[in-house]
Chain length 260, copies 3
Amino acid sequence: MNRPIITLTTDFGTKDGNVGAVKGVIMRINPKVEIVDVTHEIKPFDSFGAAFTLNNFYRYFPQNTIHLVVIDPGVGSKRQPLLLQTPDFLFVGPDNGVFSFILQNEEIDEIISISNRKYFLSKISPTFHARDIFAPVAAYLSLGVDIREFGVPATECSQLFIPLTKASRRGIVGEIIHVDNFGNLITNIEEKSIQDERIKFIEIKRRRISQTAKSYYEIPEGNIGALIGSSGFLEIATNRGNAAELVKADVDTKVRIIFD
Amino acid sequence: MNRPIITLTTDFGTKDGNVGAVKGVIMRINPKVEIVDVTHEIKPFDSFGAAFTLNNFYRYFPQNTIHLVVIDPGVGSKRQPLLLQTPDFLFVGPDNGVFSFILQNEEIDEIISISNRKYFLSKISPTFHARDIFAPVAAYLSLGVDIREFGVPATECSQLFIPLTKASRRGIVGEIIHVDNFGNLITNIEEKSIQDERIKFIEIKRRRISQTAKSYYEIPEGNIGALIGSSGFLEIATNRGNAAELVKADVDTKVRIIFD
Amino acid sequence: MNRPIITLTTDFGTKDGNVGAVKGVIMRINPKVEIVDVTHEIKPFDSFGAAFTLNNFYRYFPQNTIHLVVIDPGVGSKRQPLLLQTPDFLFVGPDNGVFSFILQNEEIDEIISISNRKYFLSKISPTFHARDIFAPVAAYLSLGVDIREFGVPATECSQLFIPLTKASRRGIVGEIIHVDNFGNLITNIEEKSIQDERIKFIEIKRRRISQTAKSYYEIPEGNIGALIGSSGFLEIATNRGNAAELVKADVDTKVRIIFD
């Protein structure tokens, strides 16, 4: 029997000990669980960033992995704590859009609005549900408690607007939706929407990019190029440098592709 | 049988490989131990910060968890390596105040001044006792070695000054003792010292706060409010923003509460 | 039977979910493996930094530990994916010098140029071999697959230039090769090259240091001193402060030792 797995994705940083508290709560309820740190460095309150990050890793984990995602600026408000089940995974977190890509990509078997206080810590701080609600719920899930035990099916569920591209016969207009650790500018333009087209040039911040590449090293150092990144989106990038700094672009910057 | 647990709290950062060395030493001595990263991002040399962080998480872990805390600017000096036992936990680290909140909150069964070189690495660097002394001691502890084996009972033990509040019938004067990852300003004013009072206003940096809230989302965006945080201390906070930057306050900034 | 161990050293940061993807891939192939985070905070593209970090920790791990090191600016180019075997450890990573200290210090039993697609993910992104090649190879290695299965013996292997010191009877000239988390300036001057000498002074950035110490606390606060650090190299350091900032030095800054 393999150990059950809970992955952690938060905006807590580690220095305050809150991640420690979450891990302790989980391990006290299920000492046999395997806790996997994904990140605690999501930008504070950035639910979209968390949704994007989750989309980059969740599908690679073993079946039945529990993905706990807590970016929770609305903690203490009426936003629901949620539990999502798909054929392969379980997801636990607040109802604020962190599961937007999951809702878009996956078959959803069930969404539960978590309410059964039997699976919470006995004292609940209105500012730290990760420790007092989400962590114990994930831990009891990992012990095999049935998801219906935690609450009632949810009737609705928040979904963040994943910016849409605008396509015409002349080209596509998209935007930057994420800047990664290396400064690569990741757009919302998917590989499949351009794979059959011949690209004349790509425009960002009045700069024309004619260089399309397969990998970073193909872009001459100091130049800006474009490639399909490992998540299947078009990226504006450079070689051994930081494209976001070179182009002075950020999330929301527009990107236009002109076809031949 | 559950695997024994060692938690790690340091100011090492991870990029130099020192955390790696500590983990390797532990796993070589006890390959069955479960190592839990709490943080390696304590501000360099900040023993008080480590003490505060430890206080936020230690109690949530399973019984017999070993908490290893190494913020150690005095490494190589005569400051003692310590081992503390409480009814529930073991603590290992340098005698420089990192255990101040433990000494204040917990029943202490025993304090051992670590000296038995049998449980150290054979070569000891005068600048890296975490790797050469603390890690192997924690690992042998996790194997069940009796704490008396590691040295002799300590006669004294450093305790950092946890700043006291000054209370009168008119109010309380306290100060900021921690700024968290979100910029929340955490004071030394405990919930129990104000829960029976009616607050007229709170003053920090000549700013008067009349807004007391239960959770962050109740504070209008852009405003400053006050609430009881998840560790039981009064916090000066804002909603989806950074209160430390807005108020321009930091550790040591005075906070006054005026009662009605 | 102990669980097999894979350590991770990367420049990915954690916020994009790439580390999560690598961990998921490994755990899906070998759910019993123990993944140990060393760092994901190597400076982007800094192969030398990764080599230095690896040298600080690899030897402390249990025998048969698999060290996975991915700093990979040449991903998608012809740089080979490598597998190194030494009597104690296995190393997996790109052929760009991250194993320079291993090649210098250890007896190498075998170097394999990884090519057997049977052990890769089925779809390989040209920008993320960590997830699609290195992670699955490390996971299969941890299952006991013979190293010869992964490819053919490599005929050559990149080694970064580890800067040499210049010694004379009057002294030694070296340079800073690493700045650690505390701002300590670590030189390429090894303990053994100076241990039999009497040092008159040490010069860095026109500053003369006559203070040699055993540990940081011996250096008067605010002063600059020199000591042998925990990796066996001479360090320029201060006490409870940041020597790199005080001296305004960085990697490549020259350091001269003058003998008596």
